[in-house]
Symmetry: D3
Subunit: 295 residues, 6 copies
Amino acid sequence: MNAPESYTQILSKAVEALSDTSEMKGLFHQHRHGDPLPSGPVLEEIIGLCRAVLFPGYYGKSALNSVTVKYHIGMELERLFSLLTSQIEAGLCFSREAEIGHCGDCHEYASSLSALLISRLADVRRILATDVEAAYLGDPAAQSYGEVISCYPAIRALTCYRVAHELNRLGVPLIPRIITEMAHSETGIDIHPAAEIGHHFTIDHGTGIVIGATCIIGNNVKLYQGVTLGAKSFPLDANGNPIKNNPRHPIICDNVIIYSNATILGRVTIGRDAVIGANVWLTRDVGPGERVTKD
Amino acid sequence: MNAPESYTQILSKAVEALSDTSEMKGLFHQHRHGDPLPSGPVLEEIIGLCRAVLFPGYYGKSALNSVTVKYHIGMELERLFSLLTSQIEAGLCFSREAEIGHCGDCHEYASSLSALLISRLADVRRILATDVEAAYLGDPAAQSYGEVISCYPAIRALTCYRVAHELNRLGVPLIPRIITEMAHSETGIDIHPAAEIGHHFTIDHGTGIVIGATCIIGNNVKLYQGVTLGAKSFPLDANGNPIKNNPRHPIICDNVIIYSNATILGRVTIGRDAVIGANVWLTRDVGPGERVTKD
Amino acid sequence: MNAPESYTQILSKAVEALSDTSEMKGLFHQHRHGDPLPSGPVLEEIIGLCRAVLFPGYYGKSALNSVTVKYHIGMELERLFSLLTSQIEAGLCFSREAEIGHCGDCHEYASSLSALLISRLADVRRILATDVEAAYLGDPAAQSYGEVISCYPAIRALTCYRVAHELNRLGVPLIPRIITEMAHSETGIDIHPAAEIGHHFTIDHGTGIVIGATCIIGNNVKLYQGVTLGAKSFPLDANGNPIKNNPRHPIICDNVIIYSNATILGRVTIGRDAVIGANVWLTRDVGPGERVTKD
Amino acid sequence: MNAPESYTQILSKAVEALSDTSEMKGLFHQHRHGDPLPSGPVLEEIIGLCRAVLFPGYYGKSALNSVTVKYHIGMELERLFSLLTSQIEAGLCFSREAEIGHCGDCHEYASSLSALLISRLADVRRILATDVEAAYLGDPAAQSYGEVISCYPAIRALTCYRVAHELNRLGVPLIPRIITEMAHSETGIDIHPAAEIGHHFTIDHGTGIVIGATCIIGNNVKLYQGVTLGAKSFPLDANGNPIKNNPRHPIICDNVIIYSNATILGRVTIGRDAVIGANVWLTRDVGPGERVTKD
Amino acid sequence: MNAPESYTQILSKAVEALSDTSEMKGLFHQHRHGDPLPSGPVLEEIIGLCRAVLFPGYYGKSALNSVTVKYHIGMELERLFSLLTSQIEAGLCFSREAEIGHCGDCHEYASSLSALLISRLADVRRILATDVEAAYLGDPAAQSYGEVISCYPAIRALTCYRVAHELNRLGVPLIPRIITEMAHSETGIDIHPAAEIGHHFTIDHGTGIVIGATCIIGNNVKLYQGVTLGAKSFPLDANGNPIKNNPRHPIICDNVIIYSNATILGRVTIGRDAVIGANVWLTRDVGPGERVTKD
Amino acid sequence: MNAPESYTQILSKAVEALSDTSEMKGLFHQHRHGDPLPSGPVLEEIIGLCRAVLFPGYYGKSALNSVTVKYHIGMELERLFSLLTSQIEAGLCFSREAEIGHCGDCHEYASSLSALLISRLADVRRILATDVEAAYLGDPAAQSYGEVISCYPAIRALTCYRVAHELNRLGVPLIPRIITEMAHSETGIDIHPAAEIGHHFTIDHGTGIVIGATCIIGNNVKLYQGVTLGAKSFPLDANGNPIKNNPRHPIICDNVIIYSNATILGRVTIGRDAVIGANVWLTRDVGPGERVTKD
């Protein structure tokens, strides 16, 4: 290397250019010292702890029995409470700083939301049990409940969604969305945490599924891979920006089946017991029991 | 925090609620003490070891030559034998406990299956070499065999599938499916381990591909992203549950090409040299050499 | 275990079979001793460092302010320079050994390419800022720039693409493609590093998107999930192999919107302000402002 | 590098030379496949778990209270049982293979010894509590029980010794000695696990202390750094080898104080309430209440 | 295993016995929820950061130059500030809870102490530089300053002592003592953080050295291995407990040399330029320039 | 925190003060970019690899047999060669930069020294085998060769010393000393790598032993804990600095036994078969067969 200084010079010029805070508006996130930051690895651990608590004996290193299950769940909930508090606090700070420039004392409030989430996990387990049952009954290739819990991407995505949905109902900003995007990355299933989904929900294969923020899905609904439940278009405000939060995604009633790669767009209603065929493209209401196929 | 006890109370109430084994039927997996458990991280390492053994010099930290390759492969196979034995045993216990409430001594049987798998790896490498060749020849963007092996998702997914398929043929429960679901998560390509696939098989891009459990695919077949080879419907038994294991997915003969997002459903046969166009939706047999396109 | 030797015998036979270098042509990668190897974990760290430098304060463990940002970016660039040099060198060796059987001294050349990449990162940040802005304005569900940067798969994929594209422009072999395939695995969005993409580019949801190597995409373009910008067919050379590197993917002009699962194949041009509907299949030019929908 | 092959040749010659099992008698430890091996990192974790269980709240990452302490101790004992079983089994196999060439089924026996050790931990805690009290009362520099537990090397060494001593009483080979040598390495205090030591035992500073295998130490004894309680000489058998296991180290009665660097050798008795001065060298009995100083 | 339940029963009985908080007085440390705990691994990292900042270029993974040194030290001090704040807070809580049952808000106070320590590091480096110089000049085997900094146990122990001494002067409880005990474990050199030690202090070899809490050591003093500067006896209070904090260890004046295994006990003064021989045992004052040897 | 800026100000002032290179003469180690640095963790791994190769089956995770031992040793030597080359190169650069301001190309030279060390390991194993034998025969508490290899600090220290001594003979600077200081820290046994030591060397307990750089020790010598073989004084040069490298430590002839805490200083000779008693202080020659005891 005949001019090692030159690399040092390039490096220090790049440091100056990339540290210029005046240019970084919106991209530079300036946290208050001491506030927790949203953290991918911590959220991974949170999801892992939820899975361990919700499906005892499937995750983790050792055998459980009816005595030791209590020690495991005790430890897992204790750690979950602590990690979740930090991430909820991170979400609150993140959001308030964006809005009002400071956060106040979010820690106590985050602790109480974290405790509320934990007190709802038994209900989350009850509804996930119906999803497991539906996946097992609906797939001829499924050999056991254990196989469904261990390796079906639908169950992984729905575990994330159902936990994130509870956090969203508690008003936690940012964190629910990061959780469902983690499931999206892992499974190719993209469910917005604000969507409402009933019991016995099944997804087959799953890659490419999109379920938008204002979707409402009933009970016993089944989706195949590649289904989009999206928005058709959205009204703009006076500045030409989309109006946030208005209902713009489909309502899917009980017992509907939607086959692979079907696309349903806009605030339409698919009635009870309807069947939508593969590759169908739909922007209208469908009546109860109706079957819609390509041509 | 003015009432720290309350968090402790919430925590212990949640522990009680979530440890109630009477409510957990089917969700609580109670392993016999000492039996190994299926483990994501162990299976990740198993796949990594298979890749290192099958494609020497592409994975791992150091340079190989014709002397040192033997040390590497020796160590990798030794560790693979040990880890695979534990995971096969985990699969056997898991399945037998579900069926007959106990496992017996699966360890010796798992060791012999693990050794059988290892003795078949040279054949697995031979057929994967044809897949690499097909991917290289079929993609104008491919610069070298090395690029194909290093970064094509098809090769990652097929390596998992071809190993999992051998395990499935040996009658190992659960584990083959977990392995192909790991590849599904990594690549968006979902191949059931029970499917039969010939040599020189190519997948381009791959995201969203589904190949069902009873598919039979010949030699020199090429699929593009988003192709579904699925079931159309399945007969129910007297209780209204789907009948397991009957042939319900397509047969794809030699030299067929299927373009992106095509959907083929049911036990239909696509004849030799046929070409199926993008976005086509098919539930019928296609003759040899036939070209099917949208409209 | 009554015959432990037998496992040892199976193991040593498999080691012999799998170490037979005569059989491994093309699959056995023989690196010169001391040359660096392409490494997944190192490339993961490289991407992480790029994200940390490009979006200060969103990644990493601690709070930044206008004083400390310089220490962070200094350390990150120093490490990035070192890791990137090793990976560029690995790519150069890999490619030259394939071509001419040896590499020469790639280290110095790799260092200079690595320094060039670092000196372009400020420009990469400027164009990524336009992508963030476009994603925020285009999605009614987006709450803040921070949410977009933290969890939108489009931003993760575009960060990888824009860095890989710079490396590709510098003539670095192999490494750019591995980087975009890492993003493909993480997000389901498959962008070839050789594609050209303008500013304010948006992708919604993203799973299943394919953008081919010779695509040219203008400014303010928006794609939805499942869109393919692919090749229709490609001319073969005298040996029946595809001719590498000829233009075979679409040109998308400014302000075009392409809805979910649309497939556009071949060297066609989609004119300014055109709108392509969901599930559309297109192999022809589209005029400026034209709206193409199914049926 | 002008002759890279030569390194490969040196390497393979060294591999041959170092793999020559005929030369390795006594140095090459050939374990039966599947038997556990003694493992430094596992034993480190075992000691860590013992510390966590014996001194709740001082080790580990999170706060304990009277509810959560049960979850922690439950998890820790479960893991301790599993790890300790494997290490006891390793010790048994190691010893029996040395003696009779095979081990038989040690696993069940190891489990029962592991359970016995766990059932004695409450007693171990009771006697360690007296050691903590003695250290606190005996050191004017000690600020609190907490300081003594957190950082006094005597407590670290005695925790290892008292656990190893229980294992030694249960007849576990090898493992107790490895544990006390780990404490020796950490603290410079070398206590043989076969030594007998009463309650309220104190060691000040500790570096260089040696307590031999057949020592018997009463209650309320205090030692300073550098004290040796060793053997003077030992009878040889017909082959000139030392006779193993005969009493050859001192007996120290209740309330004795021995100051720094004193050396006491052979099966002598130091009577109740005696005081031995710094740097004294002793090979004779000392009467009750006697004070021995240098000249 | 013919009675697996019995292990579960033994386990749960042991959990009950070991969780009985009534028995744990003094041994059970009950921290307030959310307060940080003293942590060995965090303190290890703190010491590592101090070494990296005090001796730039000797620790850590990459090369430094006069530009990049600032980035390194910036990052290291930022992390040091954060970790040290948490450990100082842990020490404060630990101590106050022992005294008054609660801690109040220690975080802000801990931050200010942490910042004070950081502002004193440049002075700590200046005095350590004199210790390095003294070690180099005093040892014929030393080849370079670099060798002294890289591997002399004296420098490792003095770095810990000099940092711990500053923390002790700031009134931080517990943490300084844990730091010097970490050095004691690593080097066999036991220096109490409250001792006062001048510049150009040298220790040769070091194992077994003890320097008590109320020692005062001048400049240019040299100690060899095994030297004890201890207390002879200490007055008891009315309850028979030792009175804490009274002066009870030697005063060593400038330029004194003390050879190996010498023992000096009590509040005696060793005058300027005195030399104390190996294995000497001393409990009296020594005049300036006096030479004391064994007989 | 009412003034967070102040911490930032303190931090940046400390960064400036501590980055001032003019003040750092001798303390700031400025490595050439790209040169390897001496690394504690890498040297730990090197020692671990040496132990694994020299005592097959005692270290590492899996069982060995006469077939697999070759794979293990092959892999271990390959990695040892690579790591050792980097550390030898680091030592060469370190030393040459100190002397002549630059290093030249040390890599090739380091590779050849690393290969030489590896080719001597079989001899190192042969002499270590005599040390194991001597320790076993000399200690009535030793139960087996395996126990001696697994946990005797003497064997750990001698393994480091004998490897470091070979490196020292090859002229490698700095690294041998770091290795023996690692053993010193672990065992309290401080052997300078330049000392000469014969076969069947035993150390009992070991804490506090010092063996100086110019010591010469014959065969069948045994030392107990706390023995110093040191320098008495050393001649100064014209500047008052000690003259480096002159013989200044004892010569110990064959079959000598030296009991605990004995101190032997200066270039004296202890004749064959002599016995030196505990706590003896010696600065004179001792004749063959002589017994020296206190008083």
